[in-house]
Amino acid sequence: MPRRKKNEKEEEEIGFITTLSVPSEGSVGLTGSWRVFMPLLDEEKCNKCLLCWIYCPEACISKDIKINYDYCKGCGICAEECPRKAVTMIKEEKDETG
């Protein structure tokens, strides 16, 4: 609902309202809460081929193969594509609040 200006002071408080968006991580919150299955990396099996890094649609796997569980949505592409089966998907235990 558009706000009606009352006086100059209020105008100062509101300032400029633009339609510019600001780039930010987690722009829709911690998307890790969408996850049902969670990827687990077996570092002994991993030979750092970087396939999971480039295939991850969410950019959650860093180039040194660390999974960011805050934002990982649990799509399972890394487990499916890993040639050495170093990533496995396990059912995540969550508390009642999710």
């Binding site: 510019l20 991580e25 911690l30 950019a59 799509c75």
Partner: protein
């Protein structure tokens, strides 16, 4: 270019609104690794408009403009003109790459006249169509890119028409560079984007984007389906430059006889949108029709390749 040489810098920030296993965000990551940060992005209405997240935050860390469906070529032309002026005036040290990013609806159907106009003027920009073969953003309606016999919400028994070949339409415009890419071959995609960056004029790159909710397969199979599409011949990887089409990665291997064409049934069976071809009973006629068309194209290409090897360097027209 090997995977370990790809830059680490991420333009696409994690925690976006994309679905699990989204092919669009996977494609945008590889594209920006090749193009770098000196890029202005014009997003034509598509899933990308949505998954870059609601106001006031954005998951894309480059200057981005969100535009209406029919404006792809027009907006990119405007940005290019402005960028040229700013470079001439000395405000920009280096001209940024202009990237128009559209889905298949914004390219095949609604956006084609603006794109055709920009291509005819040979405006200096890269146009990317990430093709998920339906209007997946609004709930999977049929588009000009939907393949024959595929289910969508308004072709419930399978589409009756064949998809149009927009890459050939772009080649007919005489633009300097046309290429197709697949998510399953990131090094090939990276090479094509890096090459396109160096060329001046309108460049068109099309990426096949298997969409888990639209095509009805598990989110973990995005890359697997993309790979099957290339291996079965349903998607062809090529680049067209200077009047010559060269095939690359998986498609090249099939043409040169290094690997065999996977039966198209394997590709169709991996997706729920072709389920009516297998259940309740197998529709042999339509499967044979699709297989016949692909086999014909590849037999022609393999024959051309052998002719070239053995007789002389002749160029046959690429099949539609």
């Amino acid at each position: 270019m090997r995977l370990r040489d790809f830059p680490e810098d991420e333009v696409f920030l994690q925690g976006s609104a994309a679905c699990q296993g989204c092919p669009g965000s996977a494609a945008i990551r590889v594209a920006f690794k090749a193009l770098g940060r000196n890029t202005i992005l014009a997003v034509i209405a598509s899933c990308t408009s949505v998954f870059q997240s609601p106001f006031p935050l954005s998951a894309l860390d480059v200057p981005t403009l969100n535009m209406a469906f029919a404006t792809g070529g027009a907006v990119a032309s405007g940005i290019t003109a402005a960028a040229d002026r700013l470079v001439a005036r000395g405000d920009f040290e280096e001209k940024p790459t202009i990237l128009a990013w559209a889905g298949d609806g914004g390219t095949y159907d609604i956006g084609i006249q603006a794109l055709s106009g920009a291509a005819e003027r040979n405006t200096d920009f890269i146009y990317v169509c990430y093709n998920n073969e339906a209007y997946s953003n609004t709930g999977t309606q049929r588009s000009g890119a939907t393949p024959y016999a595929a289910w969508t919400t308004n072709t419930t028994k399978g589409k009756e028409e064949w998809r149009k070949d927009i890459a050939q339409i772009m080649i007919a415009h005489g633009v300097p560079y046309v290429a197709t890419a697949s998510l399953a071959y990131p090094t090939d995609m990276y090479r094509k984007f890096a090459k396109a960056k160096e060329i001046k004029g309108t460049r068109y790159i099309e990426i096949q984007a298997p969409c888990p909710p639209g095509w009805k397969f598990p989110s973990s199979h995005t890359i697997k389906v993309a790979r099957l599409a290339v291996q079965s011949g349903m998607w062809m990887l090529f680049e067209h430059e200077g009047g010559k089409t060269t095939y690359s990665a998986g498609t090249q291997r099939i043409i040169q006889g290094q690997s065999k064409l996977v039966p198209v049934e394997d590709y169709l069976q991996a997706q729920g949108r072709f389920r009516h071809l297998f259940y309740p009973e197998k529709d042999e006629v339509r499967i044979a029709e699709i297989q016949g068309r692909i086999s014909h194209i590849f037999e022609t290409l393999q024959f051309t390749h052998k002719m070239k090897e053995h007789i002389m360097d002749i160029e046959l027209a690429p099949p539609r």
